[in-house]
């Protein structure tokens, strides 16, 4: 057990640090979806041009092929530098791209991977449906194979950035008679195909990056099937756990900043008796606990990465980090309302996309997504119970 970094790693850290210090943009993220997309793809282009695109991708596909330790360093420095969030490039870089790398044909890879890295194509996800949320395999969006193309009809939901995406990783049911996890196919869907309609779903925070996507007889060329027809479940699962890798470090470091900002807030906000709220023992106790838990969260991630260094197959332990992280974030924002006291009713003026900063009310409202998206806390507890602890499963 050690916390040591090799001399090469330390040099790498310096190189990352210096480059970021010089290149991180000063401009704030625009407030509108299209403006945000432009900003984010421009930043991705900059990363690409400087050799920092696809930091966990293998070099043979144009990525940086960084080791896990180098990835940690990258994400730590990235967060410290206050570099832009991955935003609309998330699915392409962290899910769609890696799936293509794992399962796609050479032609598919050759076409799509460079575009993702260069920030030329933005991807979104088309997995969830109105009746297939926690029960993802229950999906019903239908695709009929018609010779050289598939004809897709149905609906998807919770498609982040669906309104600005170029491509979608789309799960459809190609064999309605097959068992639940069978008969599913993974498609590359061009979001400009005729027959696609996109509708924003307003969230409780007041944002509209979530979309519903409706498909009516959408033609998708047969070449856009990744893997085999009816083998899409395996393809989709090939990157399971990928989201929980090193990319998670940035999110955690942001949460750590949120907690420090909360301590600041508690120093600046008068409590019930006029003294700073942080002198209130209840608030002090909760803040101290949050600080300790954020430290523990970070340690959990380093343990995960240590595991990953020994075994390339991600285990179910990632579910524990996800659950702990999301509930911790909620507790932090709940505490911010306690600190604000009666002031909690007043929203801060809107400024830029919400990035988990010090806009406490939006942060609080936004924190509800954390225990729902990417698998609800209830599903996480099932996975931990079944797969980490080996508890018996209910017959479903």
């Amino acid at each position: 057990m050690d916390l040591d970094y090799s001399q090469e790693d330390q040099q790498f850290r310096k190189r990352v640090h210096d480059w970021l210090a010089e290149n991180v943009p000063d401009e704030a993220l625009p407030n509108d979806s299209q403006g945000a997309r432009d900003y984010e793809v421009a930043w991705q282009r900059t990363l690409y041009e400087n050799g920092w695109a696809g930091i966990s991708w293998p070099t043979e596909y144009g990525g940086c092929g960084l080791s896990l330790v180098e990835q940690i360093i990258w994400h730590e420095e990235y967060a410290r530098a206050g570099a832009p969030g991955v935003g609309c490039n998330f699915v392409g870089l962290n899910h769609g791209g890696p799936t293509l790398i794992a399962c796609a044909s050479e032609e598919q890879k050759a076409f799509h991977l460079p575009r993702i890295l260069r920030g030329e194509s933005v991807w979104c996800q088309g997995f969830s449906e109105p009746d297939a949320g926690s029960d993802l395999a229950n999906l019903k969006c239908r695709a009929e194979v018609m010779g050289d193309h598939l004809l897709v009809t149905g609906q998807k939901i919770w498609t982040s950035y669906g309104n600005v995406a170029d491509y979608q990783e789309l799960l459809v049911r190609t064999d309605p008679d097959a068992a639940k996890h069978g008969g599913i196919t993974w498609l590359i869907c061009d979001m400009r195909s005729p027959g696609i309609e996109i509708r924003s779903i307003p969230t409780m925070v007041g944002e509209s990056d979530f979309c519903e996507v409706f498909y009516e007889n959408v033609r998708i060329p047969i070449e856009n099937v990744v893997g085999e027809i009816n083998d899409g479940w395996r393809v989709a699962m090939s990157t399971l756990g990928f989201e929980r890798g090193t990319a998670f470090i940035a999110q955690q470091m942001r949460l750590s900043e949120v907690v420090e900002a909360l301590a600041e807030l508690a120093r600046d906000t008068p409590g019930a008796d006029g003294r700073p709220a942080i002198e209130d023992s209840e608030i002090a106790g909760k803040l101290a606990t949050l600080r300790a838990e954020v430290a523990a969260l970070r340690s959990m991630t380093y343990v995960s990465i240590s595991r990953a260094m020994r075994s390339p197959v991600p285990g179910p332990e990632g579910s524990m980090t996800k659950l702990f992280f999301s509930e911790l974030g909620q507790r932090a924002y709940q505490l911010s309302l306690e600190v604000l006291g009666t002031g909690k009713v007043e929203r801060a003026p809107l400024s830029g996309h919400w990035g988990g900063g010090t806009d406490w009310l939006r942060g609080y409202l936004g924190s509800f997504a954390a225990t729902i998206g990417g698998g609800t806390s209830e599903i996480m507890r099932n996975i931990i119970g079944d797969r980490v602890l080996g508890l018996p499963r209910d017959r479903r």
């Binding site: 949320g133 309302l337 609800t376």
Partner: protein, 343 residues
Amino acid sequence: MDLLPDEEQQAIIDQTASFLESELPLARFHELGGQPEELSDEIWKTIAKLGWFGLGIPEAQGGVGFTLAEESLLVRELGRVLAPPTLVATLLGARCAALCDAVALRDASLAGEVRVAWAQSRDEFSLGPGGAVSGRFHVFDPGGATHLLLLDASGARLIEARGLGEARVLECLDESVGLAEVELDGASVLAFLENGADSIRARASLLVSALLVGQCEATRDDAVAYAKERVQFGKPIGVFQAVKHPCADMAVGCEAALSQLVMAALVVRDGLADGLFQATAAKLVAARTAVKSAERNVQIHGGYGFTTEYDAHLFVKRAHLLDVLAGSQRELTQVLLAEKPPH
């Protein structure tokens, strides 16, 4: 000893519920589109005619002659549909005017010509000569407000809402309630009902509790309905203990909050010594339950709970708003520790 509504009381509940179902259903929030709700003059006058504002005011003073018990039941129905808090402020304002013998103001209130907005002090406010008030306030539902209601431990004050035009308009955590910041500089008080025999402070806590209790029940019902209807893994999600048990906890919370509301309403109405304690306990239990239930209801609704297409988010926002009215949790703590509980 009977804590359940009698026939007359049940009739008030039923009539109120049926009026609200047609005039102020929860579904109206979809049309508000995230803007503050302002009741039309027409509906306001209708409400006045229904006698809500004078429900608990003695007949001799122009009221309907019922009591705090009936007011609580009525306001609980308002809570279920997240009716604008200004209705309760106006009800309290009418009482203030009536008991202070501000007859014109009282009559205007009962006739539906007055709209009272909650004013929440941002810090201690100060009193000048003649009791004039200075200080900075959050005003809720400022739209159309003719008066402000200021509550503190000493009692309730009514102030004319001139100068509100110059108020700084803010965005409220709950978008469906208007919010403004108002700076009062020696505003004169039209009526000051001292917190004595009438215990206006306890009444205000109690009626906000009633809003909260109604909301707790609506939240529980929303969660339960969704848990029955939403199917995942081939079953309605309500069969799963991860959903069923939080629903059960909401039900327990409602039972506790409602029971305490009724008990407190009777104790305050009857002028018993522990009125303030009981009303404060009602507020604390109802506010905690409302926030917790609302948060859980979002989680039960999954992704849909996070959107504005379902009602779940409304309960979260309104719960926090009501939490700060008529005594924040920290103020309630002080009262609960200072007052002697009954034995």
